[in-house]
């Protein structure tokens, strides 16, 4: 008897069909991968399983008994615990308080600190190696790094000793070492009889950890495959329907392309002494380990973070950039790293989201808006970027992640920028949309614009960038050109640059570097 059998799951959000008959079966002791493009319904299926989303229809059978999950408490009672990228931690409470949140032991309503302490100590010990020095039970969650917060989130679920553990993109913000630890713990709890649902965009993680995998596409289950007898490209093919070919190398860059952007000595709170040039039609990538100031560099160039020093020349002209308006006037565009909080106006319509930056260009006297002109402009973008939408008046929140990202790109394209700054634009975007975004980048560079591209995916960077600036501790330490811009080159340069400076670094396991 399977631990879990969930079938015929249907869920509509207004006009959007998130799930139309998806299903999943779990056996005890297995790690079951759940993969599919964005908008395929993976997250929704997991949320139905964890009780945070009410399905329109679903049949859920746990250990042979049919159950209904109406709330997270129901799911908990049936031994289900979930971990998402969106955390369930309370920032102002401590690690210890968060770990037992919702399941605190009490005596007559008063918190019993002793029993909590032992459980907390145990689980902290298990996850200790993945947490930085100085992280203790008393540390406030708000003071942890995103990766550490994710680890605590996972620890919190593990502390509940679940029968079914759902990890939904739980490894996205983790370092390699942390991922390794999580995998170890997952294998341990599977040996103890639990079952794990594992969702990840990283196919290699799926290949490494899972016994079987279920593929979702457009809200329904396409197939369930045993991992041992499958390959990466087979999985990708199943997801997209064809092998995704990465865009070919940049052909718009010629030897005599003029210098479009010249940055000298740029410094701020996080970055310092950054200097580089970008030629027209070039794609410059930002490499190095994660969190070394790449996002901050983009934000500073864009005027969203304060620059203490340095100059920025666009097309030879000096620009004083102190706000995003200054940056836009200078020809910059920024697609920020977190589209939900930084990029889009969720409650407003697609029309407004697309129009907002370049309103002044189309408005009478830069003030009065013509609805007709706005509609035409937005419609043109929808077609150009192959966006799948209901109507221009729909709320942006109803779109899939990939389409939302396209809306953000569209709003900047309308402003006709010459230097486009992209901060991890394909994070959480499915493969076909990714390919489309690469195509968009190619078209922009063909038209003479330049792109500065930050990515958490070295493979992507290897394909799309002409040159890579390797960053470390807020400054540019090295540069990769031509042949050096390869996956191996990127990975090793990131590691080496870090190692050269560290006296007492944590020991690096060379075999870990892929």
């Amino acid at each position: 008897m399977s631990v879990l059998e969930i079938t015929n799951v249907v869920k509509h959000y207004g006009g959007v069909r998130a799930l139309v008959g998806a299903s999943l079966t779990l056996e005890a002791g297995e790690v079951h991968g759940l993969i599919g493009p964005n908008g395929s319904g993976k997250s929704t299926l997991n949320k139905v399983l964890c009780g945070t989303v009410a399905p329109d229809d679903a049949t859920i059978v746990i250990d042979g008994k049919t159950v209904t999950l109406r709330s997270p408490m129901d799911a908990h009672r049936h031994g289900i615990a979930g971990v998402y990228q969106q955390l369930s931690l309370i920032p102002e409470l401590t690690v210890g308080q968060n770990l037992v949140l919702g399941v605190e032991r009490t005596r007559a309503g008063f918190l019993s600190t002793t029993s909590a302490r032992s459980a907390v100590t145990a689980v902290l010990g298990r996850f200790g190696p993945a947490l930085g020095r100085g992280v203790s039970e008393q540390t406030k969650v708000v003071d942890l790094s995103p990766g550490e917060q994710q680890i605590i989130e996972i620890a919190k679920a593990v502390l509940k000793r679940p029968r079914i553990l759902v990890l939904d993109e739980a490894t996205a913000s983790l370092h390699r070492d942390q991922v390794g630890l999580v995998f170890r713990v997952v294998r341990e709890i599977c040996r103890e009889g639990a079952a794990v649902v594992f969702v990840s965009h990283r196919i290699d993680e799926i290949m490494q950890l899972c016994t079987r995998a279920t593929l979702l596409r457009s809200g329904e289950t396409i197939a369930t495959v045993p991992i041992a007898s499958t390959t990466e490209s087979e999985l990708v093919r199943l997801m997209v329907g064809e092998v995704a070919t990465m865009a070919a190398k940049n052909t718009s860059l010629s030897a005599d392309s003029s210098v479009l952007l010249e940055v000298s000595g740029l410094g701020g709170d996080v970055i310092h002494d950054v200097s580089f040039t970008v030629r027209a039609g070039e794609v410059v990538g930002l490499g190095g380990l994660q969190g070394q100031g790449q996002s901050e560099l983009l934000l500073t160039l864009f005027g969203a973070m304060k620059a203490h020093s340095g100059t920025v020349l666009v097309g030879g002209k000096h620009h004083r950039i102190r706000s995003s308006r200054d940056a836009a006037h200078a020809g910059f565009a920024l697609v920020p790293g977190d589209r939900g909080t930084q990029g889009m106006f969720a409650q407003r319509s697609i029309q407004e989201n697309v129009s907002i930056v370049s309103l002044a260009d189309r408005a009478w006297l830069r003030f009065l808006i013509s609805p007709r002109r706005e509609r035409a402009a937005a419609q043109e973008m929808v077609e150009r970027l192959h966006m799948t939408i209901g109507g221009l008046g729909d709320q942006v929140s109803t779109l899939s992640g990939g389409n939302q990202q396209k809306v953000i790109i569209a709003k900047w394209l309308l402003a006709e920028p010459t230097i486009i700054l992209l901060d991890d634009p394909t994070k959480g975007v499915d493969i076909s949309a990714k390919a489309e975004i690469y195509g968009i980048i190619r078209r922009m560079t063909a038209a003479g614009a330049s792109v500065v591209f930050n990515s958490s995916d070295d493979r992507e960077l290897a394909v799309i960038a002409d040159r890579v600036l390797v960053m470390y501790e807020g400054t540019v330490r090295g540069e990769l050109i031509g042949e050096q811009v390869s996956y191996d080159g990127l990975v090793s340069s990131a590691l080496l640059i870090g190692m050269v400076d560290e006296d007492s670094a944590a020991p690096q396991d060379p075999s870990d570097a892929h």
Partner: protein
């Protein structure tokens, strides 16, 4: 895949336990400084300030606002707001004075009725905010109207007698400490007791991040409702303190206690968005506000200009908190 060292990412500094303590101290520091200033000013203007008599009568007027400040803290920490607390105090007080009918043996009953009525009002507020899901600011404005109306129905004009035992006891001193001061101490003790409960921890969680709390199996609806019920109960206690001080019933009492309690909460360093802060700061804030009102009284400013006092204190509190180090840089 981007490889990484085990090094901490540069974008988030780590604070130690020591800095945590420093933060707490600085936040409350401005409130204590204000208290010092207020007390000094009042002492200068009122030479008899430090006599037992004057402390007794001063504290006697503090107690209601202190209790309502605690009430408001509970709600605000949970991410809500309650503008009806003034009306709740009024309603509880008229119900209690009517039930007691001046009889000393009914004081216990009076307390029960006051706290019960307060809690019932709180229940109504809580259900409207968490089950019907109306925005607290507007919803409690509406319930304030309703409670005020009910107050007038129970007692259309000032009247009624508070049992003499109550008013006398309120003015006495036990072992040299005025009863009203003891009342404040007991109120604070109640709060501290509350902070050790699971419910209060959950209230902080819901105020900090409701979605995260929900996903963490915290019964958000129940917890939110409970925060309003607790606030109502504390307001019921405030009603009794008011009665003990004034000696008779008055349906028009507590008119600006709600806004004053919010001022107290803000001055005390409790974050209006919830999840942070404690009632001790609010209690000190309430005392500062009450003293500031006294100070204005000495400048012959009519009490209708109470809002002026609040305005001045709020501005001073905020100015101080901006000038003080550590708190200046906000996220």
């Amino acid at each position: 895949m981007r490889t990484d060292t085990a090094k901490v990412e540069t974008s988030s500094p780590r604070k130690t336990v020591w800095r945590f303590v420093m933060d707490l101290r600085v936040q409350a520091l401005t409130t204590w400084v204000l208290l010092a200033i207020a007390v000094t000013l009042d002492a200068i203007l009122q030479p008899t300030f430090f006599t037992l008599y004057s402390i007794t009568s001063n504290f006697a007027t503090f107690v209601p606002l202190v209790l309502v400040a605690i009430a408001q803290t509970i709600v605000v920490v949970g991410g809500g707001l309650d503008l009806s607390l003034g009306a709740v105090v009024a309603l509880s007080s008229v119900l209690a004075v009517t039930i007691m009918g001046g009889r000393g043996d009914r004081i216990g009953l009076g307390f029960l009725v006051a706290v019960g009525a307060g809690a019932a009002c709180g229940l109504a507020n809580g259900l409207i905010v968490s089950v019907v899901r109306l925005q607290p600011l507007i919803a409690t404005l509406a319930t304030a109207s309703i409670f005020s109306g009910l107050t007038l129905v129970v007692l259309p004009k000032p009247g009624g007698n508070v049992p003499a035992v109550m008013t006398e006891a309120y003015r006495m001193a036990v072992a040299g400490i005025p009863v009203s001061v003891l009342a404040v101490v007991v109120a604070v003790a109640l709060w501290l007791l509350l902070t050790r409960t699971k419910l209060m921890r959950h209230i902080y969680a819901v105020g900090g991040d409701p979605a995260a709390a929900y996903a963490s199996l915290v019964p958000v609806t129940r917890v939110r409702t409970a925060s309003y019920v607790l606030a109502g109960a504390f307001s019921g206690l405030a009603a009794m303190a008011l009665l003990a001080n004034s000696g008779s019933g008055d349906p028009f009492v507590g008119a600006d206690i709600a806004l004053n309690s919010i001022a107290a909460v803000v001055v005390g360093g409790v974050a209006l968005r919830g999840g942070r802060g404690g009632a001790i700061g609010a209690v000190v804030g309430a005392i500062v506000l009450a003293i500031a009102s006294n100070v204005l009284f000495f400048f012959n400013v009519p009490t209708t200009y109470r809002q002026l006092a609040n305005g001045l204190v709020i501005i001073s509190a905020l100015a101080l908190s901006v000038l003080s180090p550590g708190k200046g840089a906000k996220r």
